[in-house]
Amino acid sequence: MSPVTTTAPLATYLVRHADDNLIIGQRLAEYISEAPELEEDLAIGNLSLDHIGVAMHLYQYAASLGGAGITADTLAFLRTEREFSNVLLVEQPHVGFGDVIARQFFFAAYQTLLWEALVSSCDETLSGIAAKALKEATYHLRHASGWVVRLGDGTDESHTRMQAAVDGFWRFTGELFESDALVDEMVLAGIGVDPARLQTTWETRVSTVLSEATLTHPSDPYQATGGRTGMHTEHLGYLLAEMQWMQRTFPNMEW
């Protein structure tokens, strides 16, 4: 077994969700000090902290199920692109505030449903993490939805920009609801949730906000996939290069 990965199915399942949170947390962190207003710099920092906090809890739990030498930090900082199993949506870069909000909106709408379901997991630790994360995701969704509506129904310019952002990320939303053998195993064990059964509610919630925002529902039939098996977009490598730079340059040190 590699010193940085775990093979237990539960651990793999936890790492998958941890990766989603770490990567979006890192993306949000890139944006701190660039927000349109000081209040939003604070909010973005909050979102980033919440996601990285959830990631850390999930990694810690996963590490505790793995072999010696595996820690939350080795999982975060010493795996390669092919070993990361986050969905493609969270690794997508943003150009401006509209992108940050659109990405967050789609993801938070998914995460509220995911955590809500995982609260009932028969795994107590996971259920506990989900309960805390649910509260945070609920706030994330409220924050992002508020901005989708304000920007969609604000000025002509903001409408155009928000529509472009929503359209741009749409092709990465289908992947959120994909199942695989690992999911089936987790569902059977009463630990995990089948994301496919979250999709209808997600679609309804997203559509409601988009119409309130006077935005056109995206219709791009193409849906990207591959994140769960480590088939990422080219963006993830650069994100990891930056995030893992210290641990790669100065290996085996305490910080």
Binding site: A35, P36, L38, A55, V149, S158, E242, E254
Partner: protein
């Protein structure tokens, strides 16, 4: 010239060590000095987010990353808090920000130095926030009420930051040779700029006498600097480090550390805009503000639409 009731009342408050509040009469100079000082303080918090945000994405562990994000978030919060305190003096946040962007209001020159290694995240917490705390503890007794109260709240968070910074440095000091070298290099780069944070010597500080008289400033630049040096030098030694000053001596008679000459040319150069990163810091700030214009306009337009809707249904 006749002394008005307002003037008498103001002087009574100052003499009695009581707080001047927003609705009290105050001399124009007092108001202007406070606006300049509080705005500069707020701008420093906001510009100060940049050198630290520079390392958030590269922090070496998850825990350090989270702590750093929380710290930068605190700085944004301090900025908001201080802008509100300044607004009680009759200037808006937008106006202050415009003055910052136009170079007409300043921020602490310390933030014009680059953060070049992870150790700088520790050094900024320890040396820079440490210097800010020394300054701000004195300001808790400043005569303007809203500013004094802001300082009480901010000092609590700053001392947390200073401890966190020192904890980063302690880890380095107990680490490998590379880490200890990183630590010493960082102290070498930040030591003198940190000492300059207290401003020019009292003999060269144009604003000091009047500010002391108004009790805006309670302790002079040199007094604060000495207090800081005395508490900080032993902390550097505890880390197994030196400070880059061949003339540093402990004076047994006075019980104080005495330092060599501060390079005031570098200080004034940086204040005047020719520091390492003056242009980058302001460019970054202005770009974020300009890039966000469409967002703020949209928020205003949306709020206006909502109000109109409400009025129609009312």
């Amino acid at each position: 010239m006749q002394t008005t009731a307002g003037e008498i009342r103001f002087q009574e408050l100052i003499d009695a060590d009581e707080k001047v509040e927003p609705r009290d009469w105050m001399p124009d100079g007092y108001r202007k000095t406070l606006i300049r000082q509080i705005a500069q303080h707020a701008h420093s918090e906001v510009i100060g987010m940049q050198p630290e945000a520079n390392w958030i994405t590269r922090a070496p562990t998850l825990q350090r990353k989270m702590t750093l994000i929380a710290k930068v978030q605190d700085e944004a919060g301090h900025g908001l808090y201080l802008y509100s305190a300044a607004e009680t003096l009759g200037i808006s946040r937008d106006e202050m920000q415009q003055l910052l962007h136009d170079g007409k209001q300043k921020y602490s020159s310390i933030f014009n130095y680059p953060t070049l290694s992870w150790a700088d995240m520790g050094t900024i917490g320890w040396l820079v926030d440490g210097a800010a705390i020394v300054n701000q503890i004195a300001l808790q007794r400043t005569s303007y009420g809203p500013y004094a109260r802001a300082m009480v709240k901010i000092c609590k968070e700053e001392s947390f930051h200073a401890r966190q910074g020192y904890s980063i440095l302690l880890a380095l000091s107990r680490g490998t040779e590379e880490q200890r070298a990183m630590l010493q290099d960082s102290i070498d780069r930040w030591w003198w700029p940190a000492l300059m944070m207290f401003g020019p010597h009292d003999s060269d500080s144009a604003n000091t006498p009047q500010s002391i008289e108004w009790k805006i400033k309670r302790v002079t630049n040199d007094e604060l600097r000495q207090l800081y040096i005395d508490q900080t030098v032993p902390q550097a030694h505890y880390l197994g480090c030196t400070v880059p000053d061949p003339d540093l001596r402990f004076d047994v008679d006075t019980g104080h550390w005495s330092i060599g000459l501060i390079d005031w040319d570098e200080f004034w150069d940086t204040v005047k805009g020719n520091g390492r990163l003056n242009r980058e810091r302001i460019t970054h700030k202005v770009k974020a503000w300009d890039d966000g214009a469409w967002v703020r306009e949209a928020a205003t337009a949306y709020a206006h639409k909502q109000r109109t809707e409400l009025e129609k249904t009312a």
